[in-house]
């Protein structure tokens, strides 16, 4: 065993999309998935993650809300976040980055793009 595998939380209300992210990232990461913003905040408060893959458009607490709360929280401030969204106008991207996102991943994305973005962030954070 070399080192502990990085833990990733995948937040998206679309189940197929969560599965796509989890399968794409594969064996190198430990992935947990939740379907809405409230569940994400709950999970983040009880467990620690090396990266959050966050959808923006979700019923109830949106991804942007989750992101803002994370950035206000001392424990979660440094956790890298990749925002994934089908809304990808320059304003949408700017809003995500201003809220504290590290990367913006436009849906639909290429699987190698997802992989390299995640590896870059997790590698840097370690």
């Amino acid at each position: 065993m070399t080192m502990k595998r990085p833990r990733i939380l995948v937040v998206d209300d679309e189940q197929p999309l969560r599965e796509l992210v989890v399968v794409t990232l594969g064996e190198a990461f430990v992935c947990d998935e939740v379907g809405d913003g409230e569940a994400a905040l709950e999970r983040l408060s009880s467990e620690s993650y090396d990266l959050v893959m966050l959808d923006v458009m979700m019923p109830g607490t949106s991804g942007t809300d989750v992101l803002r709360k994370m950035r206000e929280d001392d424990e979660l401030r440094e956790v890298p976040v990749v925002v994934m969204s089908a809304w990808q106008s320059p304003q949408d991207v700017a809003r995500a980055l201003e809220a504290g996102a590290d990367r913006f991943l436009a849906k639909p994305f290429r699987i190698d793009e997802l992989g390299s973005m995640v590896r870059g962030l997790v590698g840097r954070s370690e």
Binding site: L20, P108, F109
Partner: protein, 496 residues
């Protein structure tokens, strides 16, 4: 009165001025005529006076000649006496000719004549005869009682005539003076009245014309500045009042026209916004399933998976591709609805089986729990199976989409007098009362829901169209934050 037209106003003024001028002229004419009449009478009076004096003169001459002769016996006085005796009747004739319509004066003249004749015949001539015989006796007669008896009435009558004429002349002068004074007063008052009338008319015209015109011009400036709500008080002379009324009706139609334009513009802008929102929404709606299709396809192409997983990913791809197809279908349906309407491909089918099939499809990959209440026996309905499937699918996907993960969705189906009723109830965010009617409108989405949840806003409008084409009804019952229940009622036989 204030509504009188300008022409009427001018006529009124002209009439008033003409009446005043007429009164002035008439009173002047009366004064002139009266003065001329007085003048004529005055000259007659003078003639009468002259004639009277001449008679008096004759009487004096008779008396003097008689006295002269009686005292001196000189024949020259006889000549003078005869001269005066001849002159007296001529003078009387002249005087009487001047008094034909004046019986009182005429009577006085005749009385004087009678007494003078008596004086000549009964006194003077006998005295002259006596002088020839007895000068002493004659001399004692002269200036005696008899002479005075005869001469006094003559003098009195003549003096009366003169007095009456004198009095008349004085009266006439006074009357003429008063007429002239009255004419002057009437003339002065007339001039003042004319001036006042013209001034009053000026004020009246100003009130009837100038003020409304000024108001209208001020209003016109405001209209020019874009204020079409301005209205001018409708007063003033007929023609001006008409102008003001026309102005008001013009601004009214301008305001109306602008409102229509603004409304059309708003409508256009709204539909422009709709279109723009729609394009954004569609691109987003397409991207989500597309992400799964592209992602899993790439994974399958690039990596090796166990047979089972491969199959599962293919199922996801299939499902998401169908979802894409559904979105495309919704748009095609909207085009259909906007165009010639829906064509139904009717055939009898079992609604129980269709409901179960749709429920399986939508809840297979959902974290929501399903409470399915279906009758045991088939419920056969005559309708377009694919279209009804679309309606059920739409209601199920809405129930899942708008309620929290792991919430329960209740689906029930039962026969109901002559038809069937399908109910889909969720425990989701609900629909505010104000939006309950609008959710069936094309592209309408409840604002709160639209903020976090994707959707085209087409599903329910298409569903309603399908249900009503089948002769059925769709309605909803909902409470914000409690959940929504959609009920679809379909006739078993289906509408013809």
């Amino acid at each position: 009165m204030s509504r009188l037209s300008l022409v009427a106003r001018v006529v009124v003024l002209a009439t008033a001025v003409a009446i005043v001028v007429g009164i002035v002229v008439a009173s002047s004419l009366i004064a002139i005529l009266s003065l001329r009449h007085a003048e004529e009478r005055e000259s007659q009076t003078q003639e009468v006076t002259t004639a009277t004096l001449r008679v008096e003169n004759a009487a004096v001459n008779l008396e003097s000649a008689l006295h002269g002769y009686t005292l001196t016996g000189n024949q020259r006085f006889i000549g003078l006496f005869n001269q005066a005796k001849d002159a007296a009747p001529r003078s009387f004739n002249q005087l009487e000719r001047l008094l034909p319509d004046d019986p009182a004066q005429l009577q006085q003249a005749r009385r004087a004549r009678t007494f003078l004749n008596q004086y000549v015949t009964d006194y003077a001539e006998p005295v002259i005869v006596i002088r020839g015989i007895d000068p002493q006796s004659a001399r004692s007669q002269v200036a005696g009682t008899e002479e005075r008896r005869l001469m006094a009435p003559v003098r009195t009558s003549l003096a009366n005539i003169l007095n009456v004429e004198q009095q008349r002349s004085t009266d006439r002068r006074a009357h003429a003076e008063s007429v002239a004074r009255n004419a002057i007063i009437v003339g002065s008052v007339g001039i003042v009245l004319c001036v006042a009338l013209v001034l009053l008319f000026g004020a009246w015209v100003a009130r009837g014309v100038a003020a409304p015109v000024r108001r209208t011009s001020a209003a016109a400036s405001r209209v020019a500045a874009g204020d079409f709500d301005v209205r001018v008080e409708e007063s003033g002379a007929g023609e001006v009042g008409g102008l003001v009324a026309a102005f008001n009706s013009m601004t009214r139609s301008l305001a109306h026209g602008r409102e229509e334009l603004l409304a059309q513009n708003a409508l256009l802008r709204e539909s422009e916004e709709h279109k723009r929102d729609l394009i954004t929404m569609v691109s987003h709606e397409i991207r989500t399933p597309l992400a799964s299709v592209i992602g899993f396809t790439s994974l399958l192409l690039e990596r090796e998976f166990p047979r089972e997983e491969e199959r599962r990913y293919l199922e996801i791809i299939d499902q998401q591709a169908r979802r894409l197809g559904g979105i495309a279908g919704d748009f095609l349906d909207v085009q259909l609805l906007e165009g010639r309407g829906l064509t139904l491909d009717r055939a009898p089918f079992d609604l129980v089986e269709l409901t179960r099939e749709q429920a399986d499809l939508f809840f297979a990959h959902s974290s929501h729990s399903l409470d399915l209440d279906l009758p045991d026996a088939p419920l056969v309905v005559n309708g377009d199976r694919d279209r009804i499937a679309q309606v059920i699918g739409n209601l199920l996907s809405n129930a899942i989409k708008y309620s929290p993960a792991s919430a329960e969705v209740h689906v029930s189906l039962h026969a109901e007098n002559g038809g069937v009723e399908l109910a889909v109830a969720d425990e989701g965010i609900g629909i505010p009362e104000d939006d309950q009617v609008r959710v069936f409108e094309k592209f309408y989405r409840v604002p709160d829901a639209a903020a976090g949840i994707g959707g085209t806003g087409l599903g329910l409008s298409v569903a309603r169209e399908i249900v009503t084409s089948h002769g059925g009804k769709i309605d909803l019952e909902s409470q914000k934050s409690r959940g929504s229940t959609f009920r679809v009622r379909l006739p078993v036989g289906g509408a013809a």
